[in-house]
């Protein structure tokens, strides 16, 4: 047990180190100075209250999209449609944020709820089609992403009435923004969403590990045949899992609409939040705490990448290479285990000889 926990921590840490090493090598090949690169990268990640604020701010939506992907994974499903669900959640939150005038304690929760419900409804589609028609959820989700993209723009134009690329700003009563947090972090865009993110991670853990529903969802995820024999409704669970996953995704959209951007822009391409969520979920081993940590790391590297551009003139694409390398190394945990075991084995033998 002990050894297991040890390796579970050691491997991500080693992976991060090796990922950075890969980054350094690529920097050298590209003719850049790795020391300067990394110092401005870290500076930009955590080097100032501003950096920390932006890192946490950027982590919030990733926590949600990561949880969304992880939740589906834990129940045996691949929700590659988080991207589209984020967009739908975002537009719903902004709609409520703009079109209602309510006291904050009603308005803000209402806007968040709207995001969750809209995204859940979006996620219902692949779940339902899988359950009823055996349609592979991966294709449906991919298709639903594109549909979301165009539908969102159409809603922004025809329902919210955007003519000039961007919605008006949401009413303050629906905003997650906090002048206090912003000031504290030298005008980063840190907002109250980070608290909701932490809360969501706890809820995620709670649903899966503590509730009866979680027991059932995980059982179906592991073995749907046995679950069916045991009297669980596989179809209901598939749909439910997608719907809950969609709710997390919707929250990611709410973070963007009510926290970071206070509105929404007509978008011609995907936000990337959903796709990054896949990597975050997997790096975090689909556990609540893992997802939170992975999201912070991702966000930090992304934000730090901007500073790296400024401080060392290194293109921020490099950050993508580093993140990818880290994920590949984490995924290759078996190889690490093997090497670690070999290393330990050799050492033990060495000791025995003496």
């Amino acid at each position: 047990m002990n050894k297991l926990n040890f390796n579970r921590l050691l491997i991500p840490l080693l992976s991060i180190l090796m990922g950075l090493l890969v980054g350094a090598i690529v920097m050298l090949i590209g003719g850049y100075d790795p020391i300067r690169g990394f110092s401005s990268l870290f500076e930009g990640m955590v080097g100032s209250p501003y950096a920390i604020g932006e890192t946490l701010r950027a982590a919030a939506p990733l926590v949600f999209s990561g949880l969304a992907v992880a939740f589906a994974f834990r129940t045996g499903l691949f929700n590659i449609g988080v991207e589209g669900q984020v967009l739908i959640g975002w537009v719903a939150a902004v709609y409520v944020g703009i079109n209602f005038d309510l006291p904050m304690f009603i308005h803000l929760p209402l806007a968040i709820l709207a995001a969750m419900l809209a995204a859940a409804a979006w996620a219902f589609v692949p779940g339902f089609l899988k359950a009823k028609f055996h349609v592979h959820e991966v294709i449906t989700s991919i298709m639903m992403n594109y549909i979301a993209l165009y539908t969102t723009n159409a809603i922004l134009r025809s329902v919210i009435g955007v003519t000039n690329e961007r919605t008006e700003s949401i009413n303050e009563s629906a905003s997650l923004a906090s002048p206090w947090l912003q000031e504290l972090t030298q005008f980063s865009r840190l907002h109250w969403g980070v608290l909701i993110a932490v809360l969501a991670a706890i809820v995620y853990y709670y649903i899966l590990q503590r509730t009866t529903l979680g027991y059932e969802l995980r059982a179906v995820g592991f073995n749907k045949h046995a679950s069916q024999y045991a009297g669980m409704s596989v179809n209901r669970n598939i749909i439910l899992s997608f719907v809950i996953s969609g709710m997390f995704a919707g929250l990611a959209g709410a973070m963007e609409g009510l926290g970071t951007f206070n509105g929404m822009t007509l978008s011609a391409s995907f936000t990337g939040v959903g796709f990054d969520g896949i990597a975050v979920a997997l790096l975090g081993a689909n556990t609540a705490i893992g997802v939170v940590l992975a999201a912070i790391l991702f966000a930090g590297l992304n934000i730090g990448g901007l500073a790296m551009q400024l401080g060392a003139n290194i293109p921020s694409e490099l950050v993508k290479v580093i993140i990818a390398a880290i994920v590949i190394f984490v995924a290759s945990g078996y190889a690490f285990n093997y090497v670690i075991d070999k290393f330990k084995g050799n050492r033990k033998k060495g000791v025995e000889k003496k």
Binding site: T151, E317, I323, A324
Partner: protein
């Protein structure tokens, strides 16, 4: 416009749209039939597109002229196959989760490709290539009435894609190699006991998929965008995966799915020129290809059974 005139417009557009999708989906089939999930197709296409453009530019500079894009296709296949080692090695040798790897490789590809372009050209996107693979009217065939819709305004790469679908079908279902490849994706332990080298077969599956993915990306780049930037390949790989599943992991199915998709896209884009469709709100036209695909899946195609062991690392002797 007469119905035929409409087809003369729609069919070439559909073919052009379908071409890279079909090729990439064929690649996906190789990989998944061997038991390795290939979400990385998107990233491999990115690498293929970058390679296609960079080599075309270089070869043109060397004076190869109109041959450059064709040679670049071959080089993109090689580079794609090599790049797919990022998937093959951890997935097959180190038992890494294949979906995770795929997602990471997609990120790696775009990061790496742009980085290389920056290092080579000192800017974020390449110049336009001088020689591309152009649309042509096929001699003689494009004069046949009605049938000419398949031969006007068409790139030869489209025919290559269709031909490849049949070739891949032949390889997968008729040759010993195909039999072994499929056995490894269905029941690797059974294959192993029959003396088939599971590791080798899976490497071949993934690398073939890399070659096809690279080709698909390069075809896209040298026929459509004619330069490479971070937004050259955005989502085509995922659509190819959808086409692969839609086609039930069968090369001819993928061909059909790719064409279906191409037609839906072409209709949605050209639709507003047609009398019936021109009154439909644009958003409905935009989402039509995707919605139609879902409907087709739910209504007609139904359950698609993936190769049984796809996504599961093979561990000798694991029960």
């Amino acid at each position: 416009m007469s119905f035929l005139e409409v087809l003369y417009i729609v069919v070439p557009v559909a073919l052009a749209y379908a071409t890279p999708l079909i090729i990439a989906a064929l690649g996906g089939i190789f990989s998944e039939r061997s038991g390795v999930v290939n979400i990385a197709l998107e990233g491999i296409m990115v690498i293929g597109a970058a390679t296609g453009i960079i080599t075309t530019l270089t070869l043109t500079d060397m004076g190869l002229g109109g041959l450059s894009p064709w040679i670049s296709l071959l080089i993109a296949m090689v580079v794609g196959a090599l790049f797919s080692l990022f998937l093959a090695v951890p997935a097959i040798l180190w038992r890494a989760d294949q979906t995770v790897l795929g997602v990471a490789i997609n990120m790696l590809a775009i990061g790496l490709a742009i980085f290389v372009v920056r290092v080579l050209y000192n800017k974020g996107q390449t110049d336009f290539i001088e020689y591309r693979i152009a649309k042509e009217n096929v001699p003689i065939l494009s004069d046949i009435p009605v049938l000419r819709m398949f031969f006007i305004n068409v790139q030869y790469t489209s025919f290559i894609a269709i031909l490849l679908a049949f070739v891949v079908w032949f390889v997968i279902f008729k040759t010993p190699f195909g039999l072994r490849l499929r056995s490894v994706g269905e029941h690797p332990m059974a294959a192993d006991t029959m003396g088939i080298n599971v590791t080798k077969m899976r490497f071949m599956g993934v690398m073939l998929s890399g070659a096809f993915g690279g080709l698909a990306g390069a075809v896209y780049a040298v026929t459509v965008t004619t330069n490479f930037s971070g937004t050259t390949i955005v989502g085509q790989g995922f659509l190819a995966i959808a086409a692969m599943i839609f086609g039930k992991w069968n090369p001819l199915g993928a061909l059909g799915a790719g064409l279906f998709f191409g037609f839906a896209q072409a209709l949605s884009i050209i639709g507003s020129n047609l009398p019936v469709i021109s009154n439909v709100p644009q958003v409905l036209l935009l989402i039509a290809p995707y919605a139609l695909t879902i409907l087709a899946l739910a209504g007609v195609v139904g359950r698609a059974d993936a190769p049984k062991s796809v996504g599961i690392p093979y561990i000798k002797g694991k029960r």
